[in-house]
Amino acid sequence: MKAIQRTAGRSETCRHRMGGAFAYVMAYMTLSAMLLGLSGSVLHSILRTSDTDRRMFREIHVTEAAAEVLRDDGGRCVVAKLTDNGLVMELADSQGVAWTAEQHQLLREVVQSGQIQSRGQFRFQPGTELTFRKESERLYVLRITAPPVGYLPTASAKTDGVRKSIDVFLAVPVPELIP
């Protein structure tokens, strides 16, 4: 008799415990799903930010490299003149340097006696706008305007939105002061 009672009691307890275990599993699964989802979204944000930063620092690196060469040319040139899409500089040793903005690239061509001696390019990310302007008698500015956030280089790409830019100043000697 005692054995029967024990068995019956155990089966009741087991039934209760199984229901409890199901609720536990559901609760844990919900919590785990929430935690995993949250971790996933945070990880995605971090990776996206890293990618944006990596591209931005690459752009800064190209900007710094272009600025160094541009300022060096500016320091050596005798006369500088703005063109439609660039800047032409005449150097003291009958050489000429032409900086041309073509889409998202800056081309630098060294010309001597009408022949191209060397050519280099500084490539920015697609969608970047490059413009030269004269700031004052001795100062020229290269403006590098980044594409808007989320820009994709497709045919129907939108170019509106917030666009940030970087200015690079270069000074040219005053022609009258050159011996």
């Binding site: 919590l31 971090i46 930063d53 710094e64 700031e135 940030k164 830019s165 970087i166 000074a171």
Partner: protein
């Protein structure tokens, strides 16, 4: 039943403590990463801006008292709106006659109880002879 409810309470407490720890740590870690990136970005942009100021100084583009005239560019303010620039004219040793040195520094606050971030550059400019009467 008594045993089971006690067990549930312990589990709940452990889970809550773990969640609270994670919830406290994650924003702090994210904030630290964000601040580090902001710092790096500031230093890189400040370097470009300092080079621009140096070019303007050398080209004598800053009229009048350069200490008052020097300002941060509009583009730089887009990236670091809370930054400020300072230009100090330092005393030049006699051996560098004909040259004038300027110390240009750009700084921005870096959170509470932390020193400002500063990037500085010393620029040597040919001193212009002031006309004597």
């Amino acid at each position: 039943m008594k045993l089971r409810s006690g067990f549930m309470l312990v589990e709940m407490l452990v889970a809550l403590i773990l969640l609270a720890t994670v919830a406290t740590m994650v924003p702090l870690l994210l904030k630290t990463v964000y601040q580090q990136r902001q710092q790096e970005r500031f230093f890189r942009f400040a370097q470009i801006e300092l080079a621009n100021i140096a070019v303007r100084l050398k080209a004598n583009d800053l009229k009048g008292d350069v200490s008052d005239d020097v300002k941060l560019s509009v583009w730089f303010r887009q990236y670091c709106p809370d930054a400020s620039v300072q230009l100090t004219r330092s005393k030049t040793p006699e051996i560098y006659e004909g040259l004038q040195s300027y110390r240009v520094s750009i700084s921005r606050p870096d959170g509470e109880e932390r020193p400002d971030l500063t990037q500085a550059l010393t620029v040597w400019v040919e001193s212009v002879e002031e006309p004597t009467e």
